[in-house]
């Protein structure tokens, strides 16, 4: 009888007309190599949802970094280029200047964007290059397995700060969003997260807004996402999201840092 009821319900509900969520068609139907619970997967998913909903799959070119998300091109069903470590913003500049009518985005980790790629990021922002930078801040070098990133917070342990980051000798955690926001070429800067259902919803909206601003030609848009790295943090996915909430977000507060006035 229990069983039966279930059957009825399922039969009843699992029908196309009742569908309320499915994997976006723009996300290629393969396993993602990311670790269980990794924010990269989540961001890939919601960004591809945005691309699908805006119907721009054929009008967007992406740049993947060197980092765990180097393989973004295996999952995002759009034209993509893989950039040398840190140079995504230079590569995107080359693309956007050649194809000004297309949407262009880079997807970069914190080591890629803020360490080796600091200059390309700074100058693309300062030139007001009209593309979107999706900046995954997980406070660590994931792919190379756990070294300190520019964003690693004070005292945080990593394989190259085994006794905790000592700001006296290793420098301070870089707040890229706050650093770039004041530049006149920068149109939109926001910091989001994907560690809770509500944050995922907000992050998705931010990504969509950024693409709309690009359409309007407003300039450089940066969407920072405070993310996790359960594997290198040596935490369960659930704990890692808790760490994001309780430790990272207080240091990297969420919300819009710069928003363009849009004349309607």
């Amino acid at each position: 009888m229990e069983l039966e009821k279930v059957d009825i319900l399922v039969e009843d509900i699992v029908k196309p007309e009742n569908l309320v969520y499915r994997r976006p068609s723009t996300l290629i139907d393969v396993d993602m190599h990311y670790c269980p619970g990794c924010g990269h997967s989540t961001v890939h998913k919601i960004f591809m949802e945005v691309v699908e909903e805006m119907g721009i799959q054929h009008d967007i070119i992406g740049v993947s970094p060197v980092g765990c998300s180097v393989f973004a091109y295996n999952y995002m069903d759009v034209d993509m280029q893989q950039a040398a470590h840190g140079r995504a913003c230079a590569v995107a500049t080359g693309i956007k200047r050649m194809l000004p009518d297309k949407y262009v985005f880079t997807y970069q980790g914190d080591g890629d964007l803020a360490a080796i790629g600091g200059n390309e990021t700074l100058h693309a922002a300062n030139r007001g290059e009209n593309f979107l930078v999706i900046f995954i801040n997980n406070a660590v070098y994931g792919m190379t397995s756990g070294q300190m990133a520019p964003t690693t917070i004070e005292g945080m342990v990593s394989t190259t700060s085994p006794y905790g980051r000592d700001t006296k000798t290793m420098g301070y955690p870089l707040k890229i969003s706050e650093l770039l926001a004041p530049l006149p070429g920068v149109a939109y800067v926001t910091r989001q997260a994907v560690n809770t259902v509500q944050n995922v919803r907000r992050a998705k909206k931010a990504l969509q807004r950024a693409l709309e601003y690009q359409k309007m030609g407003l300039g450089f848009c940066l969407v920072e996402i405070v993310s996790n790295c359960p594997s290198n943090w040596k935490m369960t996915p659930l704990d890692s999201n808790k760490f994001v909430q309780e430790v990272l977000i207080p240091y990297y507060p969420l919300g819009d840092i710069k928003v363009p006035e849009v004349k309607k």
């Binding site: 009843d12 509900i13 569908l19 499915r22 396993d31 269980p36 619970g37 990794c38 997967s41 809770t196």
Partner: protein
Amino acid sequence: MAKVVGDVVIDIERCKACELCVQACPEHTLALGKQLNHKGYQYVVKINDNCTGCVNCAIICPDAVITVYRKVYKTKQEVPA
């Protein structure tokens, strides 16, 4: 008063057993099962029928494993007991 009934379909081979959906589900409908999938993960299963189709699990799931369906039954309409 309307009753909302939902259901989820889990692509078990894609699940990495991160448990984010388990925590995200307000109805405690999901939990890690006993079986391993080919990747060696103890994939998530449904453990009750309380799903309301709120899509929280699907939204939090990094790997887009969960498809969600939902139906609203008007009071008039007869709800399967």
